[in-house]
Every structure is written in C-alpha cells, then in structure tokens.
C-alpha cells in the first residue's frame, strides 16, 4: 500500500460563491509579492496535467521585464476523457475571471485571453455575458484589466502552451522550442502566464480562504484537491472533486463496476494501470516517498473485462496520428509506424518480438519528439503493451 488514504470528496471548485467582487477587490489590494508567497506556500501545481508549480510560474513572469504581459486561460481541453474545464466555465466562470485579473495584478498584465476550444463554441455566449459583467465591475473599481475569448478550431495540439500562442498569432498550431519559456517569451514573445482553467479556479479558493485551507488537503508533493473526469465502464460517470493522493484501489472501489480490468489515468497521453497494480498506484505528482505516483489532468477512464486493450490502444494511436502537428519526424512518422506495427502483429504478419521493436521506437519518441504530444505516446503504448501483451498478439 502506498498510502492509507481514503477517497475524500471535496467541494471547493463548484461551491457557489457569489462574492467574486469582494474577493477581487480584497485580493488586488494586497501586494503582488505577498500573493506570490501565498500561492507558493499552497503548493498548488498546474491542473492541466503537467503539474508545474503555479506560484513559481507567476513569480517568474512577474520578474520578467517587458512593456506588455499577458494572462492566458487555457481552455483547449482536448485530452480524451477530460471534461472538467467545460463544467467550470459554465458553472463558476467568475472564479476563473477573478483569478485571471488577480494574476494580471501580480505580474503586471493588462490583458487576458481565454483560449476556448472550437468544440465548446456553445459556451461562448454565456461566457461573454460573464466577461462583460466582470468588465463592468473592474471599471467600477478602476482596475485596468480586460478579458477576451479566442476561439480554437479543432486541434488537440493547441492545448500545448506554445502551440496555443502560435495559434493565437494566426499560425499553424505547431509547438515552439523551449526555452524560452512562456514566462519570458510567450504570446507575441511577451512574458505570459498560461494556466489551465482548473488551476485558476483553485487560486480563487487560495486567495479567498488562504493557502493553508488548500495545503491541508492532499498528501506531500500533491497538495489540495483536484477535479476528476470519470468515464468508461463505471456506474457513475461524471465530475468529482477529490483530495489528491488516493490510491487507485480506493478509486476503483468507489467508481468501478465490480469488474474493472484497467484504468487509464491521464487520458490518451497518460498511463494504463492494470488491476494488479491498483494497490500500489497513487494519484498525485511524483514524490520521493510514494511508490508509483501518477500525475493527471484528471481523466480517469475505466475499462472492464469486456474491453479489448488492443482496441483501446488502436484508438489512442489513431488519435495521436491525427492530432500530431507533423512538425517533427519522431512524432509524425512514429505514430504512423506504431499503428502499422500493432496491426501487423495482430494480423500475424509480424511476430510478437516486433512489439519490442515498437517499444524501442516509443523510447526514441520520448527522447526526441519536440513536445509533450510525441513524448507521451510512449506512456500509454508501453503501459498497455507491457501489461496486456497477449491481447496485442491474439
């Protein structure tokens, strides 16, 4: 057992708090440095999946010198199995807007953007209404910060922060080389804080209730709560806010259908955990004390024993092949070859040893692909092929 942690439901994100005016005016009356310290001591990490410390991100941007800076809310929620950001934007938009404005105050930005994926265009009218109400309040308290929506047009890769900047600049959504990092050179090559929708909503909680309330939740290295998007073979699919650090066994007890064979943690770019490893897997960010600890953007897909893991892998690879931006060879050609490869093994045109060759290919992709998309294909590929090898062959 990694931890004795029981599954604990939390209700912060969706708690209806009609006091954003109050929170905003109180928070921007505080000094940027004080707010950064508060955020750092909360140990909030990015909720989009990568888990970069949010306080540090804001700090680095605030230290960058530039005539113009930007705050961007990443609402290009495209990871298969993730749907929490849509819910946040439709239920508690003011928390996100307030957090963006506070970030503007902290780093010295006057403009913010919400990059909304094209698939969520139906959210736009309500969100625009919220933004104009928010703008009215900012004007009233003489706080100079404006928020605009930028629509995406159906490209998973634009959730990658630098691809998102390229897209906003009117170009193909192809990731940039890093460094420079967005905190120095982001949108229009200006210092930019880009945060996931949920991350911003958590900062609202932290600024309203103080870092301690947040820090007291979760476990070491994985503080706070997190929204989980639960789907697949489960009697209760939906969105749940849970404390971080739970073991996957507890999770499956709560959400499984009694016949859970495997859980995909973190979407197509995450890891598949087979039943025998539920006990030793915790959900949270990498830490020294825990055994296997899986970070996640919150996508939890359950599969029962009626599912073919070959079909699951084939579906993921097809997804990556289509969504690869095509810019770097390891990812573009790698995804195509992986699909061809598993199909050839399944049809018996290649023998089972060929799977090891494909595993080596994913290792190469992990090392050489330019961005997270190409690098993370290895996660699902190796975790599925290694744990369900016989299903790939027969």
């Amino acid at each position: 057992m990694v931890t004795n942690y029981q599954l604990k439901r939390v209700d912060f994100i969706f708690r209806n708090e009609n006091d954003y005016e109050d929170v905003l005016s109180k928070t921007i009356a505080r000094k940027p440095q004080e707010l950064i310290n508060e955020l750092i001591s909360s140990e909030l990490k990015g909720r989009g999946g990568a888990g970069f410390p949010t306080g540090l991100k804001w700090k680095l941007s605030s230290e960058s010198k530039a005539d113009e800076k930007y705050v961007i809310c990443n609402a290009d929620e495209g990871e298969p199995g993730t749907f929490k950001d849509r819910e946040i934007l439709s239920k508690v938009p003011f928390k996100v807007l307030t957090a963006m404005a506070v970030c503007g105050h902290v780093i010295g930005a006057k403009r913010g953007f919400i990059y909304l994926r094209g698939e969520y265009k139906y959210l736009k009218p309500e969100l625009e209404k919220a933004i104009s109400e928010f703008a009215y309040y900012c004007k009233e308290i003489k706080f100079d910060f404006s928020i605009h929506i930028f629509m995406g047009s159906g490209a998973y890769i634009c959730g990658e922060e630098t691809a998102l900047f390229e897209s906003m600049e009117g170009k193909r959504g192809e990731p940039r080389n890093k460094p420079p990092y967005p905190t120095n050179s982001g949108y229009m090559n200006k210092p930019t804080v880009i945060n996931n929708v949920e991350t911003l909503a958590h900062t609202f909680t932290i600024f309203k209730y103080g870092a301690k309330r947040f820090y007291d939740l979760g476990v070491q290295y994985s503080r706070g709560s997190k929204l989980f998007s639960v789907s697949g073979d489960t009697p209760k699919p939906g969105i749940y806010e849970l404390e971080l650090g739970m073991s996957l066994a507890d999770f499956v007890d709560e959400f499984g259908d009694g016949d859970t064979k495997a859980v995909q943690v973190g979407g197509a770019s995450g890891f598949l955990v087979p039943r025998k490893k539920f006990d030793v897997t915790a959900i949270g960010y990498q830490g020294k004390l825990t055994g296997i600890s899986l970070p996640t953007g919150g996508s939890m897909m359950l599969f029962n024993s009626s599912r073919s893991m070959y079909n699951v892998l084939d579906n993921y690879l097809e997804f990556f092949r289509e969504e690869s931006c095509g810019q770097c060879t390891p990812c573009r050609v790698g995804c195509q070859q992986l699909i061809k490869g598993i199909k050839a093994v399944k049809r018996g045109e290649k023998n089972a040893k060929y799977l090891d060759k494909l595993l080596r290919l994913t290792e190469t992709m992990q090392l050489t692909a330019k961005c997270g998309l190409g690098q993370s294909v290895a996660n699902s590929f190796s975790s599925i092929v290694e744990n369900f090898r016989e299903e790939m062959i027969y």
Partner: protein
C-alpha cells in the same frame, strides 16, 4: 462585388488586418460559408497582405476549418475511446441510414455532411456528436432519428 469578398472585407474591418486576426477571419468565413474555398483563401491573403500559401497552411491545419464544400449542417460524431466503447458505430449507422450518405459525404441537397471528430469532452455522456455548434449527448439510434427529423424540417 462577390458576396464572399464583402464578407471577408467586413470580417477584416471587424477583427483587424494583422496576422493574429487570421484565425477569427477564417472562422468567420467558415461560419457563413461552411468551408474555405480556394477563392476565399486567396481573398483573405489579399486582404491581410499575406502570402496565400500562409493562409492555406494555417487554414488546413485546423480540423474545424473545412476546405472542401460542406452541407448546411455539419454532423461530427465523436470517435474517441469512450464514445467508441459506448456505441459510436451504431450512431453512425443510424445517421448513414437516415441521410443515405456514408461517412465523409454530403447529402445531394447540400443540407447535411457527416464526419467523425476527436474527443468532444462529453465522455461521461457518451456517445456524443456536434451538429454545427450544438452538442447532443447520450445518443441512441432512436434519439438520432428524432434529432435529425427536427433538422430536416428546418
């Protein structure tokens, strides 16, 4: 004056003529025309003073910016894992059966196009699809017949 040319001029006036305004302009044309013709892309390039190849390169990168003639109603059925597990194929069959077209085709009267798309973010209410910008979830073949007959009456 051509209607598309007017539309592009209006959109450029509304959004601006810098490179970062390209995507909103492309989206505006697709909203009206349902797709970007070669003619539209060249006109946009002219309006923004960009090489036409840059406009083409950007437009063809995004899956929602169609560059082939589409129907009035574009149906996009989610094919990612959960929807696929929860009966996406039956949904496709029901649509194909009703509209008498295959995946990737447009009906003869130019009203409906049928496509597949990647994760729509409704995995907990799978299967899901978009018709233009509107989302429909927890689909069954019966629901498909209801929804589509409503659209057919429009």
């Amino acid at each position: 004056m051509n209607l598309v040319t007017d539309l592009i001029k209006d959109l450029a006036n509304q959004h601006g003529r810098s490179r970062e305004n390209l995507l909103p302009i492309l989206q505006g044309v697709v909203e009206q025309e349902k797709y970007l013709s070669e003619f539209s892309m060249i006109e946009i390039a002219r309006e923004l003073d960009l090489p036409a190849s840059e406009v083409y390169g950007t437009a063809t990168f995004y899956s929602f910016l169609e560059h082939k003639k589409m129907g009035t109603y574009i149906i996009r059925v989610c094919k990612t894992i959960t929807c696929s597990m929860k009966g996406k194929n039956q949904i496709l069959l029901a649509i194909e059966d009703m509209l008498k077209i295959h995946l990737g085709e447009t009906t003869g009267d130019g009203r409906f196009s049928l496509l597949e798309t990647n994760c729509l973010g409704w995995c907990h209410k799978a299967p899901a699809m978009l018709i233009n910008d509107d989302v429909y979830t927890e689909l069954t073949p019966e629901r498909i017949r209801e929804i589509l007959s409503d659209y057919m009456k429009k």
